[in-house]
Symmetry: C2
Subunit: 400 residues, 2 copies
């Protein structure tokens, strides 16, 4: 049998999806699972998007252009303008989810062996995509005790050397829910400008922003227009995770042209998803407002509930629909697996994403889990009850 | 401005798509273009597939599992069984087109700097995906004069050393239309077995096979079950290029598990495309038969017509819907660009893919173009007239 590559061995399994086989087995045993592990909202897709599907009258489901349907890219310009982001259609390449946006951007900007700085905990798949591109991740730690605020300039500068090519931020943040303040965004801008780095800014949770502070996009920052690469996706915004439509956006046309060569190699983004995403841009204002209120209530219920459980701590996040929680446990991987394989309370259990997977060094997240508040409030309330019972029963419980 | 990566500079532009901007300009000038450059069939998508779209009654367009919908994978087992290929659903990972199948397989099997042997001319995007994965391509030349038959064992062995990790074949072949004989497939099997290599076999044109010889899939070959990785796609089979649904298939479960880590990082293949592809498996037998006859007629018309033009040669291909043609020209890139920017005949012109892009050394394909016979017969006939006129007018014409 031929030997697999070293990448295949080193590639981490997704902390969000690796427990799926145990969940399948638990369901087969009749256990009901509350899935807080994955950012799959239960919110309905906008009706205008679903209607667009039914009205497709094409006879041939043909390739779209490699950078996406012109009609969709034109309409996206109007979407970004609502947020004070001034773009032209040429700045936008439509991608197969936000995932592919990273798969186009990383190899176009960074040589194998060169480095990217990311705040940690980080979205686990950034680490995977960096590994795929041969790019080295330099994590910069953020701390649960101050809600995962941005580290100081000095902390960044301590990591920057001649191999540093980029900084990646996720804002609002997955997995922490943290939203960068204007002051923090200016801090990032200054570092990017001083060292002439690329700034990858994943802003797929733009609409999930629960403070009165103004939303600051990386594309709002002045003086680094050629450095910024926006990663976007309609997955969360319109509850359209399955259609796999994202975008990679830059005003740097040299970079745009380079990414287009990678985009042309994979031919085109999904046609059907683009049709749905384009129609969804016409979702009524009431659609997003309804979602917004719902998520705030869910967040408050979950985070307040977590902090009432002995030994548990979770900071109140200002955005996205995730929170990290510190639990009184020995090992989050063991705990999350145990929840599915050994535990149940009144025939039910809960599923979380182990915190270890959100750190380059898994040890750093051993006592943490990520929870997505994508379930109805009554299900979140029930999940809190089950978690409390589980922590009482778990053999690896630690004292805090 | 930060510097792009070396990959971004070295990445070749798609020979199939790089001329698109000139085509747009030509259309703006009112020129009608016959597009033989791209494998976008004009054949209609099966009605059962289109109907499935209209009947989607989901309220949330959610993620599918990373390896694809179980119902689709189960049904695919039956599809392959029709070709005498025995699989289980666990052997199949559904991908975002055949493109992504390669993007999962290459990095899982081959270390950066290690080598893959491919017959040349080769599908241009294989070179791109190899570059993305840091894999070195060792081309093995095939010759237009014998219709691009498989080279000898000795020719393969001359390229094999300790860095060689895989052989890639495309069968039926894009861009040549060549179909490997049983004897040639056994030759490949013996080499793969002797040196314990991976064998990537792209068989997306399985149904487009115009000889009475039996179809031999790499998955039919005995003794290399752990070595074979099948690349597949519904794009051409059902004229569903835009839905971006393919598959990567292997009986090597260690490799399957490795590829799943990459698949999980990108979350899931497109949901809507999977629904269409699953329904399309029920297309009536008459659907494929109609297509089959049509393509044989198109092939005969195009290739016979090409060989009647002075100085032009094209071998008669046995499969797919492409043919390579050698033209009496100085430079295929110049010629194809000239066709769009400077030439027209009665307000019309033709678009081909320059042959240079199908070779690792572009010089080797300077006098060739790839043509896809994906247009109606009358349009192909008209394209032949235009080509003949163009070759008479082209300032870079050479003598043959």
């Amino acid at each position: 049998m031929p030997k697999l590559s070293q990448r295949a061995e080193r590639m981490p399994a997704s902390p969000i999806r690796k427990l799926v086989p145990y969940a399948v087995q638990a369901r087969d045993r009749g256990i009901k699972i509350y899935s807080l592990n994955i950012g799959q909202p239960d919110i309905e897709t906008p009706q205008v998007g679903l209607d667009a599907l039914k009205h497709i009258d094409r006879k041939v489901l043909e390739y779209s252009p490699s950078d996406g349907l012109p009609s969709y890219r034109n309409k996206l310009v109007g979407y970004y303008a609502r947020f004070g982001i001034d773009l032209s259609p040429e700045n936008i390449i439509v991608t197969t989810g936000g995932s592919e946006a990273l798969q186009l951007a990383f190899p176009s900007c960074i040589n194998p062996g060169d480095e990217i700085i990311m705040t940690e905990p980080t979205y686990a798949n950034y680490i995977s995509f960096a590994m795929q591109a041969g790019v080295k991740v330099r994590p910069i730690k953020t701390d649960i005790r101050n809600g995962y605020a941005l580290p100081s300039v000095e902390d960044f500068e301590a990591l920057i050397d001649e191999r540093t090519k980029a900084i990646l931020i996720c804002n609002p943040n997955n997995p922490t829910g943290y939203v960068y303040t204007k002051e923090e965004m200016m801090r990032i801008r200054d570092i990017v400008k001083k060292y002439d780095l690329f700034l990858f800014s994943d802003e797929v949770y733009r609409e999930f922003h629960y403070t009165d502070e103004p939303y600051v996009s990386a594309l709002h920052l002045e003086g680094i227009e050629e450095n910024v690469v926006l990663i976007d996706s309609v997955s969360k915004r319109y509850s359209e995770c399955g259609i796999r439509i994202g975008a990679v956006i830059t005003r740097n046309m040299q970079l745009r042209n380079a990414m287009m060569k990678f985009a042309q190699a994979r031919l085109s983004p999904p046609l059907l998803g683009q049709i749905v995403a384009e129609a969804s841009l016409d979702a009524p204002k009431s659609y997003m407002e309804g979602i917004y209120e719902e998520y705030i209530e869910r967040r408050n219920l979950l985070v307040n509930g977590l902090n009432k459980i002995p030994g548990v701590y979770s900071p109140m996040p200002n955005g996205a629909f995730y929170t990290m929680a510190r639990l009184p446990i020995d090992d989050c991987d063991r705990f999350c697996e145990w929840l599915l394989r050994e535990f149940s309370y009144e025939g039910e259990t809960v599923m979380f994403a182990p915190g270890s997977g959100f750190y380059t060094n898994p040890e750093d997240g051993r006592d943490q889990v990520r929870m997505a508040y994508v379930l109805k409030k009554e299900d979140l309330a029930r999940s809190l009850v089950i978690l409390e019972k589980a922590l009482e029963a778990y053999p690896g419980r630690t004292e805090r």
